[in-house]
């Protein structure tokens, strides 16, 4: 399937209102990368726009879309991380750590700098990376991807730079 075909699917999913594009909240900010969110995450962003936790999530998403430098890696402080790279599962997380409770947003890349955020969880509920909760949310992420985009596979890169531009590697 070509990128043209997957973009047509994206448009269909937007028309069906099962995914939503994120444009920067401030109209002066450029659109350099592209981010779509699932209906569930879109609802959380809208329903919690007056709260601190999801407002931070929104600011991080805006930074991603407007092309800001993103710290990437496996340190707890990295903004984005590639989960289980050795297994090549291609599931990424966005980390919103402040204020507590921290939130983890999981999703997959269609192409470099084109990310779809699919599921989310509170960090405290997910516990450590070997927990059942983590395995479950990763599985849910992949299930959501298949629901939306099958037979198109997510981007499978070898390095962080294959996925995101303008990164600081931790």
């Amino acid at each position: 399937m070509s990128i043209k075909e997957i973009l047509e699917i994206l448009k269909e999913r937007c028309d069906e209102k099962v995914i939503f594009p994120i444009d920067p909240s401030l109209s002066g900010d450029p659109i350099i990368r592209t981010l779509f969110v699932s209906a569930e995450i879109n609802t959380m962003l809208q329903d919690n726009a007056e709260g601190e936790v999801w407002s931070e999530v929104r600011a991080i998403m805006d930074t991603f879309v407007s092309g800001g430098l993103i710290s990437v890696g496996h340190k707890a402080t990295s903004r984005m991380a590639f989960l289980k790279p050795k297994k090549n599962e291609s599931v990424w997380e966005i980390r919103a750590t402040k204020p507590k409770p921290g939130i983890r947003i999981l999703g997959q890349f269609i192409e470099k700098d084109l990310f779809v955020a699919l599921v989310w969880g509170y960090r405290k509920d997910l516990k450590n990376y070997n927990s059942i909760a983590w395995k479950r949310i990763i599985r849910n992420c992949k299930v959501e991807w298949r629901k939306l985009f099958e037979p198109y596979e997510p981007l499978m890169g070898e390095t962080y730079n294959d996925y995101v531009s303008n990164i600081f590697l931790n």
Partner: protein
């Protein structure tokens, strides 16, 4: 997820009432990210052009390398002191200040959905979305 610029900034531009916790949190994170981008991008430039390393930065600031690694991986715990230290050691200077009023904010000409107009572009099957976006932006100017 598109919202009008007016509604997003109303409580900041329009009135004297209490600004919501959400808006305060949004702009705190935004400022952290902007400062992080500004300073760490300059560190990366210096790393490339002068072979300036994290170890060099740690030595200049008399800090443990682990502390420098934490600072460079996230702006979450930066203080004004952190910013001052990094500006001195990385940029050899200090920040200058000016207000960018939101009332003067410019309007964007394009949105993310425009990449979905791919069928109306001359893109080849291998064209990357970012390339398509650039094509569309160019077409809008």
């Amino acid at each position: 997820m598109t919202m009008s610029q007016t509604s997003f900034l109303t409580e900041i531009i329009g009135g004297n009432g209490t600004i919501s916790k959400g808006k305060l949190a949004y702009f705190r994170e935004r400022q952290r990210n902007r400062l992080y981008d500004f300073i760490v991008s300059r560190f990366l430039e210096k790393e490339r052009s002068e072979k300036f390393s994290k170890a060099d930065l740690a030595r200049r600031l008399n800090k443990e390398p682990a502390q420098i690694t934490r600072w460079l991986s996230t702006p979450g715990n930066w203080t004004l002191d952190t910013i001052s230290d990094l500006m001195l050691a990385v940029c050899g200077g200090e920040l200058e200040f000016k207000v960018a009023p939101f009332v003067n904010i410019k309007q964007r000409n394009s949105n993310s959905l425009e990449i979905l107009r791919v069928q109306n572009t001359p893109a080849s099957p291998t064209t990357k979305p970012t390339m398509i976006l650039k094509i569309l932006k160019h077409a809008n100017t």
